[in-house]
């Protein structure tokens, strides 16, 4: 691993810091980000689960979970895995434990098939400095008997957590990955990589919920890869950070692969969220469906750039992408840039993007039935998100996102 880190650092050093001259970074300026001021999280002694807000512990170490893992600043503070899952051969542990106990699996899958070190400055930085995070491995034909939950909490908001999920052929799992930190004053960084490897006939529900303090600058590379007749239901929510820039790529590698990406975000204050999504149809007979919905308040900004790609021999594919943004204040700004690069000719690929304001006729209609204005406005926003929330297969995830939306509405 040391060798891997050193190589990654060389790559990091060799790549220039992205600027707005780079197409993918055109709308996200890092001028105010002081890379030198943030250093990788150093393990203090006092990281205990006591620092974790009780609401989180209750929500995620739920009885329904077959396993839970809590890490504070990259150090595991609480961990459980049910006997049932153990007996099934499911491996669920923090990444450092995975390196010591399952070196063969880590060597095979860690930044080899999902995200590669050389795909960007921040992928390389992660490769060099990654620390903590979660490893989930489900062996061939095993249907994990219960969902597993991971909570990564940061006290100082400097995290380089790595999520690696490997589902072998015919495996099934439901994984909730939650990242959060308290509100801090100093600029901090989260540089994460998420790799979701779904084998042939395997099926993964992955929910990644980000809720960092607004002092955090987040740079993520995320990739899901789906085998023949495999399914990936990929949900992400973005509520915190000062700035987030994430590359999320779905690779549909074999006929019958299916991937659904659902994204929900709500920005306020000076938050800046820039999501770069790709749906790569690397084989024919593949289906992708992306729906990203966001609401914006105050001076926040959302950028979404989506791309559906199909190679020449990827016939009979079905690709869909839609981004819908709701502007709650005139001072907010949204850019929505869909894109298609289709070389095959027998395909159904469509995209849609809308940026709208709250409809005052809807608000009036609700008020005319006795509902006070603030509740009426809340309901219109809830309604905006409802079709997206209905796609989220896990009730606890839906409730968590929903309550954050209400909080942000104020």
């Amino acid at each position: 691993m040391l060798e891997f880190r050193l190589k990654a650092f060389d790559v990091y050093e060799s790549l220039p810091m992205p600027t707005t001259q780079d197409e993918a970074w055109r709308r996200t300026n890092l001028r105010r980000f002081k890379m030198d001021a943030v250093s990788p999280s150093i393990n203090g002694d006092a990281a205990t689960s006591a620092t974790l807000p009780a609401s989180l512990t209750e929500q995620f170490a739920a009885e329904t979970a077959g396993g839970h893992l809590v890490q504070v600043d990259g150090v595991t503070t609480s961990y459980a895995l049910s006997d049932e899952l153990k007996a099934q051969g499911v491996i669920f542990c923090d990444m450092s434990t995975a390196v010591s106990n399952h070196p063969d699996l880590v060597q095979k899958y860690f930044m080899t098939q999902g995200v590669k070190v050389d795909e960007g400055k921040f992928a390389a930085l992660h490769g060099a400095f990654w620390r903590g995070g979660t490893f989930l491995y489900v062996p061939k034909n095993v249907k994990a008997a219960a969902p597993v939950h991971s909570v990564l909490w940061s006290e100082n908001g400097r995290t380089f957590a790595h999520t690696l999920v490997v589902l072998e052929e015919g495996a099934e799992a439901d994984f909730l990955d939650f990242y959060a930190s308290n509100e801090g004053e100093d600029q901090a960084i989260h540089n994460g990589v998420i790799e979701l490897l779904v084998g042939d006939n395997a099926s993964l529900i992955y929910s990644g919920l980000q809720d960092f303090g607004t002092n955090v600058w987040q740079f993520n590379h995320e990739r899901g890869r789906v085998g023949r007749d495999g399914k990936l239901d990929w949900v992400t929510s973005w509520m915190g950070t000062r700035l987030s820039k994430a590359f999320q790529t779905l690779e549909l590698d074999k006929p019958g692969s299916w991937g659904r990406m659902s994204g929900v975000f709500f920005t306020n204050g000076r938050q800046h969220l820039d999501l770069d999504t790709q749906q790569n149809h690397n084989a024919g007979d593949t289906v992708s469906d992306l729906l990203y919905k966001g609401a914006l308040k105050e001076n926040s900004r959302i950028v979404w750039q989506g791309m559906i790609k199909a190679q020449k021999d990827s016939q009979k594919i079905d690709g869909f992408q839609a981004n819908r943004n709701l502007m709650l204040d005139k001072t907010a700004r949204a850019d929505s840039i869909p894109g298609l690069e289709i070389e095959a000719d027998d395909v159904a690929c469509t995209h849609a993007s809308t940026i709208g304001k709250m409809d005052q006729e809807e608000v009036f209609y609700l008020m005319a039935r006795g509902i006070p204005r603030n509740r009426a406005e809340q309901m219109v926003v809830e309604g905006f998100f409802d079709p997206l929330l209905r796609r989220i297969p896990v009730e606890g995830v839906r409730d968590r996102i929903f309550s954050r939306i209400l909080e942000k509405m104020g």
Partner: protein, 260 residues
């Protein structure tokens, strides 16, 4: 105490245009008033102004509802006080189901009456909703559909009356509820309104272009509106006169030219 809606010399603008030019009308609970008039006479403006739509600006006059100054109240306060507008063109509210919306409306009303109220228990709400839907011939699956989204014209009107039946207002304004309804739907909707009148004395202002609905909801008073004013008032027989003679004689009598 029986409630009353008293409109005194009401003037209202839409943008810069002066539409209502002095309306006087007293509607008591238990009474049915029909407001007839050609397109553009100001009937819907009256409805929206009373309901408190922000685009309709009262410029003079007064409206007293239950002894309170209605024009000083927000739209939601008016509704909670017991005034209901059945819209001619109800808004769709995507993402909000009819059931969720109705429950919120009921709870807002309950909270208005008692700030400590914890909301209608869900089993009770379900029972009430089913019962009212059955009375109005509405399929139960509408409860789970997004409010008015993809509803046909007739379905929207039934949904309006469902809301009225659930919220039990003191006075209801029905704005062209008959438009777009076939005769069976019109009968069901009218029976729904009549039932509320009979059960607790809901007062009604039935705004209509045609006589047809008045065969089902019998008015006690009929008013004719022209160019923002009530120009004739009378008993039910006035509706029959209108049916036979149309609006031209009224226009001639009051010297109002037909709009181009």
């Amino acid at each position: 105490m029986s409630a009353a809606l008293e409109i005194k010399n009401l003037h209202a603008n839409v943008g810069e245009t002066h539409i209502l030019k002095g309306i006087d009308l007293l509607i008591k609970q238990g009474e049915v008033h029909a407001m007839m008039g050609p397109n553009g006479s100001g009937k819907s403006t009256l409805a929206y102004t009373l309901a408190g739509h922000p685009a309709y600006e009262p410029t003079a006059g007064q409206v007293i509802f239950n002894g309170e100054d209605l024009l000083e109240m927000e739209a939601d306060e008016r509704a909670r006080a017991g005034l209901f507008l059945a819209f001619q063109y109800p808004s769709a509210v995507p993402g909000v189901t009819l059931a969720k919306f109705l429950r919120q409306a009921i709870n807002s009303k309950r909270k208005g009456e008692n700030p400590e109220d914890a909301g209608i228990p869900i089993p009770m709400f379900r029972r009430v909703l089913k019962e009212k839907m059955d009375l109005l011939g509405i399929d139960h699956k509408f409860a789970g559909r997004y409010l008015n989204e993809g509803f046909s014209g007739g379905e929207k009107k039934r949904a309006e009356i469902l809301q009225m039946a659930t919220l039990e207002p003191k006075i209801a304004i029905m704005d062209e509820t008959d438009s777009g309804l076939d005769i069976d739907a019109l009968r069901v909707v009218s029976e729904g309104a009549n039932r509320l009148k009979e059960s607790y004395g809901m007062g009604m202002l039935v705004i209509t272009h045609y006589h047809r609905i008045l065969n089902y909801i019998k008015p006690d008073y009929v008013h004719i509106m022209l160019d923002g004013r009530i120009v004739e008032s009378g008993g039910p027989e006035l509706a029959l006169v209108m049916e036979e003679r149309g609006y031209d004689w009224i226009r001639e009598k009051h010297g109002v030219a037909e709009e181009a």
